[in-house]
């Protein structure tokens, strides 16, 4: 059984020779092209990643710009709307004021008209009342008129007047 653990020095020599030759040859023929291909690919991947990173940064910048612009647009729209609302408010106030004023004018003129109508009606009424009362008085006077008494009264007044104003004395 000691054959199992007795190293054969010739085989050891073969092993070392084989392995050293293999290591030398394979380094050139196998591992070098393999690692070169791998490195090339790694470089390509790195390049891709870098460019992807760059485009991501660019996209971020564009988005930030858009955000800023959006915000300014929004602000502008807001301010415009506020302005419009304020203008509309003012317009409304003016319109209401005008309407109120014109309503006041209409009411005023209507009142004046009414006043004038009333006055006219009153005047009319008064003249009619005066006429009626004069006519009534005339009727009453006509009823109570006494020719002799009146003549006497007139003579008496005339005499008094002549006495007061001798220059107006008629004759005699």
């Amino acid at each position: 059984m000691e054959a199992l653990i007795r190293p054969e020095f010739g085989l050891m020599f073969w092993t070392i020779t084989c392995f050293v030759l293999l290591a030398l040859v394979l380094s050139k023929t196998a591992w070098k092209p393999l690692l070169q291909a791998v490195e090339e690919r790694e470089r390509a991947i790195k390049h891709d990643r870098d460019s992807a990173e760059a485009s991501r940064v660019a996209a971020d910048k564009v988005r930030a710009e858009l955000d800023v612009r959006m915000n300014s647009f929004r602000k502008e729209v807001q301010s415009r709307m506020d302005e419009a609302r304020a203008a509309a408010e003012k317009e409304k106030d003016i319109l209401i004021e005008e309407a109120r004023k014109s309503a006041g004018i209409i009411v005023e003129s209507a009142r004046k008209e009414i006043e004038a109508q009333k006055n006219e009606a009153a005047r009319d009424l008064r003249s009619k009342v005066a006429e009626l009362s004069v006519m009534a008085a005339e009727r009453i006077m006509m009823k109570h008129l006494d020719h002799r008494a009146n003549t006497d009264l007139a003579s008496k007044y005339l005499a008094e007047l002549e006495k007061e104003r001798p220059e107006l004395k008629l004759g005699n």
Binding site: L4, L11, W31
Partner: protein
Amino acid sequence: MELKEILEHHVVDHIWSWVVLGPLHLPISKHLLMMVIAGLILLVGFPLLIRSRSAALAPFRAMIEIVVLFLRDDIVLPNLGIKGAAYVGYFATLFFFILIMNLIGLVPYGATATGNLAVTAGLAITSFLLINFSGIKEQGLIGYFSHLVPKGVPGWLYPLMFPIELMGLVIKTFALAIRLFANMIAGHIVILVFISFIFIFGSFGAAVGLGVAPISVGLVLFTLLLELLVAFLQAYVFVTLTAIFTGAAMHPH
């Protein structure tokens, strides 16, 4: 047939012939063949697979790539630092070499080259050389050996600590070799034992052996799956520990 013979047949290397290169006596053996197959897969299969552009092979390419990237990003670079990039090829080769040798042992007619102490010792020696080489390269010869003893150790302990740390360097790599070897061989031995159960019980009577067979086969299948896990796990462990030791040698603080 005794278990010893079965084990030696299935687990121990078979040396077919010897090559004499000057002072070296080199065996041509089954484990060497398996190692060469693994080496050919790595040498021919991997470059073709990595360079091919066919969509059908893309998943395999992706698998290799994931493993290599895992080794680079989670094992080599965290332990060795920025300068570790130069060592990625070494660690990737180490991982796949061990992994493929482990997996070949699970294939029928295959043998586990990493279940041979000589093979794991050879790998551990390369790791040992790498650890010391990288440490000396990083800190200089004197700096490396003066940093061998951790900081904060009282001065009078240095004569004791220095030999211990020197021994520790060797022991660490020795442990690497033993760990891989033992892990790879243990599963095989367990599988052989489960198979042997059938014949042990069969000696009581054919019916008993047949009754035990399903249980044994089930356990063998379970152990095989466990071995599949261990094949990946031990390749990972070997590479990770080598990276940790190398990193410790490069950056003593």
